[in-house]
């Protein structure tokens, strides 16, 4: 049975349809979930897509974290459910405290929009569980606030726990320790700045996004069986 994945739609999200198409191409059944929804228990996994939730006013993700759906996302994550935040979704997860640290404006105030090489540095997450560490993937980035920061103690902890799941081969934004993707300690909540949904067909230049989403769906199937 195909994994049933909810794609959360905030006012201002703009990648939800691309994510739904990509998930379906990876073998899932995708459902758009409006941000006022407060019950996600019927889902096998949840994705927070990219865009500009609530206009990115104040800070990216700062208002979105108070959307009613976020309490449900928190409960879903606490129960071990797989949660993936892409780009703006990553920013929402850090603002909500579901992932440590924060994402700030890119070094040099430069908006970046390009293909990016990222290396899988840990398979201890729902996003990377089925991908061998060390593999390099080509996935586009498209953001203004993607420079990851955290304090030194947090950095030591996330390194030690293998929570840094993706690193840029060439740092495009000043991100601390070249961090492109990060998991929580349990590995079931992951955020990444690159857009896997934009790398799902040779016509788009890469299918490595399907590799990531396929691994995520395998984790979702495993979580359901558990």
């Amino acid at each position: 049975m195909a994994a049933h994945v909810g794609v959360v739609v905030f006012p201002g999200s703009n990648c939800e349809h691309d994510v739904a198409v990509a998930l379906e191409r990876a073998g899932a059944e995708a459902e758009l979930v409006w941000h006022t929804n407060q019950d996600l228990r019927a889902l096998d996994a949840v994705v927070l897509p990219g865009g500009f939730a609530h206009g990115d006013y104040l800070r990216p993700g700062a208002i979105a974290r108070f959307s009613p759906v976020m309490d449900a996302v928190e409960r879903f994550a606490e129960a071990g459910g797989p949660v993936l935040g892409i780009c703006n979704g990553f920013q929402v997860l850090t603002e909500a405290g579901l992932l440590p640290g924060a994402l700030v404006k890119n070094q040099g105030l430069r908006f970046v929009c390009s293909p990016a090489s990222v290396r899988v540095d840990s398979d201890r997450s729902v996003l990377t569980a089925a991908i061998e560490a060390g593999r390099t993937l080509n996935v586009p980035i498209n953001h203004f606030s993607g420079s990851y920061v955290c304090d030194g103690r947090t950095l030591g902890r996330i390194r030690e726990n293998g929570q840094i799941v993706l690193r840029y081969v060439e740092n495009p934004n000043g991100s601390l320790d070249d961090i492109a993707g990060l998991a929580n300690a349990a590995g079931n909540v992951v955020g990444l700045m690159p857009h896997p949904e934009r790398a799902i067909d040779e016509l788009l230049g890469s299918t490595d996004g399907l590799t990531l989403l396929g691994s995520f769906l395998q984790s979702a199937a495993g979580a359901r069986a558990a």
Binding site: L58, F66, K105, Q107, L109, S147, V149, C150, D151
Partner: protein, 85 residues
Amino acid sequence: MRFAARVEVRLRPGIADPEGATIERALPALGFDDVHGVRAGRAFRFELDAGDVAEARRRAEDLAHRLLANPVIEDSTVDVDRADV
């Protein structure tokens, strides 16, 4: 009683501030080559009703910590004054 609050939010020391750095780099062209340490931030103003100034300050600080600033990267200072006198 009604109080006027002003909250200033700025990046914590040690967090790169590309906006402040860019402003600082532009200043010498205007003759301000004696200006250093520019940090960009934001200010918010609002009014709130509270029983006394201490309560108003506590509420404003709570609001600043929970929404206006992200304590991971930002510090905030709160000023509160009577607005109805």
